[in-house]
Amino acid sequence: MKSLHVKLNDVLGALKLGCHFDKKGDSLWCEIDDKALLLSLAEILQTMNARVCMITAHQKEDAHELVYHFDLDGIMINVKLHITDKSVPSITPLFKSADWTERELSEIYGIAILNHPNPKRLFLDEAIKENVLKEYYSLSSAMSGKVSQALWNRVKAEEGVLHG
């Protein structure tokens, strides 16, 4: 793990990023304000065979703080990005492992993911608008759980579907 620490320090030093390891040495925290820099870092991590574990978003007034959590051989690299325009470039073209977590950012926080190869809704029905974290929806609508005539009619309306 030590050689990996040295390697990571080199990479991040070259990008002039301020980073620090936590006490235990198994997670690294970095801050970025530039979206292009995020993509450059993602490209480097991709060549090092990292994977995306998760992306967290947090809204502060009109701005968002995103935290990209990458795993690299047991070290969690947490990259913080501050955005004010509700949009980020997708890293899914680099990391297939980011596919779902980016789509979740859209539906829960209404953040536009630019250049995502599969920008469909993840869990919530299209009838529910985006950016819903703090809004109340009844359980049956949040779960698309009404197994009623309405749902069945929608299934039947899909072209070319064979009903067993």
Binding site: D22, D26, S27, N49, R51, V52, C53, M54, T56, H58, V67, H69, D71, D73, G74, I75, M76, N78, F95, K96, S97, D99, W100, T101, I108, R121, L122, F123, L124, D125, V132, L133, K134, Y137, L139, A142, M143, S144, G145, V147, V155, E158, G160, V161, L162, H163, G164
Partner: protein, 362 residues
């Protein structure tokens, strides 16, 4: 053949939980060309609910996210809170956390293997797996008073202790079941009918496993080792010895074998943890206020890596809390596993990632 689609779900007896599969068959009408899956039938908005509860109330909410991984959720959540508060736990608590987690892992793996047997219509084998699991359910009941939600963890330690009698009963259960697990392994290694039914079904190759970032037994069955217990040890795992089980073929059979061999490794871990159980407190004596901060923590749940992120602001409720469960990563792999397999095997392949939809969707 026209491009007629076959639908399975969202609510179907072959599925433990609701998912909506849209299957496009090949020209033969018997095998899958593509499989599209629609989720969201058990989305409860728990990530929003936890922001409205305090840190102790969230112990209960996190335990209820999922039934089979129920212990890992409060466990990983506690680890994140403890990191922010800078707590170092009594040694005994760290070992007891391993004990709770490994007993849950054995029961969880046996349940998945029971479901596999059910889906290939081997009812006798299913009965044997579930009867074996029953011993571990009874064990959980005798230690924690519950068969699924153990409520074993709390911030700063654990809520249960083991006396000599309970330690002896755990060891007896392990010893009584070890030969049964070995017999299951022999069956999966040598039984021609079983092997021909399961091998080559739902294959996920090494490269695809790496590319998709899959975790847990799904990754290890394709030869990718990202067992959190080894790669980023927590609790007492760095003091205990065990092997990471890897297979090469990446099919349904390999995933079943990984789970079977892992049960033996869990038994090994339990024996070691019980023999080396340090004396002392099980929980920190005073309750701490949680300061402002943020942390990330992860554990190896029965289905793979579970990640929690927590951000606090000095109040006694989280400012942001997010978690990602193993099935969330393994799901996209189904789109690699399913094509050109028999339509009849959709439910079998689906079961082989040991899906947990209620915790994936939260």
């Amino acid at each position: 053949m026209d491009n007629t689609k076959v639908i399975l779900g969202p609510f179907d007896v072959a599925l433990e939980e609701p998912v909506y599969f849209k299957i496009e068959p090949n020209r033969d009408g018997k095998t899958n060309k593509t499989v599209d899956m629609i989720n969201g039938f058990v989305h409860r908005g728990i990530e929003s609910i936890v922001l409205q509860r305090n840190f102790l109330q969230n112990l209960i909410i996190t335990e209820k996210v999922c039934a089979l991984c129920s212990n890992n959720h409060p466990f990983t959540y506690c680890m994140a809170v403890e990191k922010i508060a800078g707590l170092s736990l009594p040694e005994r608590a760290l070992y007891l956390r391993v004990v709770a987690d490994e007993i849950k892992r054995i029961a969880s793996h046996l349940f998945n293997l029971g479901m596999l047997s059910h889906l290939i219509h081997n009812k006798a084998l299913m009965t044997q797996f579930l009867e074996t699991r029953e011993d571990f359910q009874d064990l959980k009941e005798s230690i924690w008073g519950n068969r699924m939600d153990l409520s074993a963890n709390t911030i700063g330690g654990v809520k249960f202790d083991l006396d000599a009698k309970l330690i002896a009963s755990i060891k007896t259960t392990l010893d009584q079941n070890r030969s049964k697990i070995e017999a299951f392994i022999a069956l999966f290694e040598t039984d021609a009918t079983l092997i021909s039914r399961l091998s080559g079904v739902g294959v996920l190759g090494y490269e695809d496993a790496l590319r998709l970032g899959v975790v847990g037994p799904v990754a290890r069955a394709s030869g990718v080792n990202n067992d959190v217990r080894k790669r980023s040890p927590y609790a007492a795992y760095d003091k205990l010895s065990f092997d990471v089980v890897l297979q090469k073929d990446g099919d349904v059979l390999s995933r079943a074998k990984v789970r079977l061999y892992e049960i033996l490794e869990s038994m090994k871990l339990l024996h070691q943890a019980l023999d080396a159980l340090p004396k002392g407190d099980i929980v920190l004596p005073t309750r701490t206020l949680i300061p402002e901060g943020e942390a990330i923590s992860r554990t190896e749940a029965p289905r793979g890596e579970l990640v929690y992120y927590l951000k606090t602001n000095g109040s006694q409720k989280p400012e942001r809390m997010k978690w990602r469960v193993p099935t969330y990563m393994n799901w996209e792999a189904l789109k690699v596993m399913m094509p050109n397999n028999s339509i009849d095997d959709v439910a079998l392949i689906f079961n082989s990632i040991d899906p947990c939809i209620s915790c994936t969707e939260r």
